[in-house]
């Protein structure tokens, strides 16, 4: 593929594209089949939570894994999506789909306002700014009682519906949420395989180098920040309509940390890793809710172990391990043969 100036653009190799096409098809098959295999309502709920987290994590991975910028405030965008949708539909009787779009756009606008100055900050300063922003939004959720219902939460959010179909149980919501997951992953996948994706990867590699090659780094960083906020907002809206009740504690500092953890555990800069990271950590988190008093310690130990031993992400880490094992086996088989062969 060549652009106007005749320069060759680096595209993903055909093998990767084929692999991606296969993976997406597999994802659809799995999504369709899961409800047939999983009968327990509890597991459906867990799967729905995984889906919602995946949407946030995919967006966040664009920011962290590809543009190399860390945000510890994404709970705020997730929450803004929920609260805009919730307030518009429950308090003002807005139709829900337009409310969701309004929520997404409003969250995007807020992300732009905060991201424009914040992404000029570097390293730990950016971490602190996003962290502070997240905490401020979380406090506002609790204190603006006349709109948000305060710490008791906002009740009576109607479920989503299309035509005559109302998404009012876990199974229907499963299909709805995972359709969104599929769509979001597709958007992210195509974005990465474009001019924008290459620019983002260049920024991650070296901001100075990218800048000198004509990539408007600050503009790209803000754009991808806004995009990841919109992903989070959509997920938040879906969450609000699915659970029909929201309260500030869902959107605290820990959620921000959790989603970044999912990005890291899945592997920074790995799209399928996002799905994997969201799945494994959401599942563990839900499973640990049974043993409530051990939740913090178990989660802490688990996170520490992964980061110590599989810092490149579980999926990539296992891949590496497998490859090295395969390599060893190959060597183990071939070496005696080679030794024998060399005698002649």
């Amino acid at each position: 593929m060549e652009n106007r100036n005749g320069c060759k653009l680096v595209d993903l190799p055909e093998s990767t594209r084929r692999k991606d096409r296969f993976s997406f098809t597999l994802l659809v098959v799995i999504i369709v089949l899961i409800p047939v295999l999983v009968e327990s309502k509890y597991y459906l709920i867990v799967l729905n939570i995984i889906g919602l987290n995946t949407i946030v994590v995919v967006g966040l991975n664009l920011l962290i894994g590809f543009a190399g910028q860390i945000s510890l405030g994404h709970a705020a965008f997730f929450g803004l999506g929920s609260y805009f949708s919730g307030i518009l539909t429950a308090n003002y009787g807005f139709p829900h789909w337009p409310a969701m779009v309004v929520a997404m756009l409003a969250t995007g606008a807020i992300a732009y306002l905060i991201g424009y100055p914040a992404l000029k900050l570097r390293g730990h300063y950016l971490v602190m700014a996003t962290l502070g922003f997240g905490i401020i939004i979380n406090i506002l959720m609790g204190e603006l009682e006349q709109f948000t219902g305060g710490h008791d939460g906002l009740i009576g959010i109607p479920p989503l519906s299309v035509g005559g179909l109302t998404f009012d149980n876990d199974l229907k919501n499963f299909y709805l949420i995972w359709a969104f997951v599929f769509f979001c992953m597709l958007v992210a996948r195509n974005l990465l395989d474009s001019r924008v994706g290459r620019a983002l990867r260049a920024i991650h590699g070296s901001e100075v180098a990218a800048n000198s090659l004509g990539v408007n780094t600050s503009s790209y960083k803000v754009k991808v920040f806004v995009l990841s906020a919109m992903f989070a907002s959509v997920s938040g809206s879906l969450y609000a309509h699915y659970i029909t009740f929201i309260s500030p504690s869902t959107y605290d500092f820990y959620y921000s940390i959790q989603v970044v953890t999912m990005v890291i555990v899945g592997g920074m800069g790995s799209l399928w890793g996002s799905l994997f990271g969201a799945a494994i950590l959401s599942f563990i988190s839900e499973a640990l809710h049974v043993a409530k008093q051990y939740h913090i310690i178990a989660y802490g130990v688990f996170l520490s172990l992964i980061l110590i031993f599989l810092p490149e992400g579980v999926l990539v880490g296992i891949q590496h391990f497998y490859q090295s094992k395969k390599l060893q086996r190959l060597i183990a088989v071939k070496t005696p043969f080679l030794l024998w062969f060399n005698r002649f």
């Binding site: 962290i64 914040a118 905490i135 401020i136 406090i139 310690i297 130990v301």
Partner: protein, 295 residues
């Protein structure tokens, strides 16, 4: 109580909480200077300081002065063990991985504290007396506030002496400026990193112990204090010690004024709003020169 007295009262309260933030911020700075990471387990050092003080003084009835030093040593040891174990053996030395590792370790410590002490808030007796002292400006403070000011001041003096006049302190500063150069002239960088964790463990514990009699303590009391300490460090310019003190005091006083004059529910929001505002005007913090990229 007229308006000026009220203001004086808010400022005094703000200064004392600001002193705590400053100590915590210095803990963050020390580790940052040695390693380049943000150590979120600093929050747990604060809680552990407070809770071990409670255990020693209230449960075991050990005199306050002795308890103070035992707690400090214990938490300092925990900090050192953290570095000797997980941080050192982490396979990746990437900054973001190490930061999240400290979050993981922080969860581990907090979870352990929860298993040991439960989730209740507990009180610790004041270091000396509970009778309020009336100041000439019209404000009233508790003796414990005086202890907070005194101990903070002492900590600053000791640290200043340590970093300026002792060989070890100079070696730590050398490591902060340039690791390789420090290693070349014979500074054991490994030991400096270990020492930085031990030192910030001790600082976190001190902060937790002196605030405990004023605001009670629990297994997770350090989270908000720690995050505000981080905010103070960033506000002053990350890694800068004078900045940490300035950042702590500014945050503390503004937060206290905001809570008193505007609304107490927005107390935490005020602190972070001020921080964002300053960062957007001066992206490197008040006294910072910006972050040099570590290779």
């Amino acid at each position: 109580m007229d308006f000026s007295q009220q203001i004086a009262q808010y400022i005094i309260t703000g200064l004392s909480i600001g002193a705590i933030y400053a100590i915590v911020a210095m803990g963050f700075n020390i580790i940052h200077n040695a390693t380049g990471i943000v150590n979120f387990a600093q929050c747990e050092f604060i809680s552990l300081g407070g809770m071990s003080m409670y255990t020693l003084v209230v449960l075991l009835k050990i005199p306050i002065l002795i308890s103070f030093f035992i707690s400090m040593a214990t938490v300092s040891l925990i900090g050192a063990l953290m570095e000797r174990g997980p941080i050192r053996y982490a396979r990746s030395k990437e900054i973001i991985i190490l930061i999240f590792l400290t979050i993981g370790l922080s969860g581990t410590l907090r979870g352990t504290a929860q298993q040991i002490w439960g989730t209740d808030n507990v009180g610790v007796p004041a270091f000396s007396g509970e009778d309020p002292i009336h100041l000439p400006v019209g404000a009233t403070i508790l003796p414990q506030h005086m202890w907070v000011f005194g101990i903070t001041f002492l900590v600053m003096l000791v640290l200043r002496h340590f970093f300026r006049n002792t060989m070890l302190g100079k070696a730590m500063r050398a490591t902060a400026v340039n690791r390789q150069a420090a290693a070349l002239v014979g500074v054991s960088v490994d030991h400096m990193v270990l020492l930085s964790f031990a030192l910030s463990g001790a600082l976190g514990a001190v902060a937790g112990m002196i605030i405990a009699p004023i605001s009670t303590t629990s297994y997770d009391t350090g989270i908000m204090l720690g995050l505000k300490g981080f905010a103070a460090a960033i506000l002053g310019g990350y890694g800068n010690f004078a900045g940490a003190i300035l950042g702590g005091v500014i945050l503390g006083v503004l937060e206290s004024l905001g809570a008193g004059l505007l609304s107490s529910q927005y107390k935490d929001a005020t602190a972070f709003l001020v921080l964002l505002f300053v960062l957007f005007l001066k992206p490197t913090g008040i006294m910072g020169y910006g972050e040099s990229e570590r290779v």
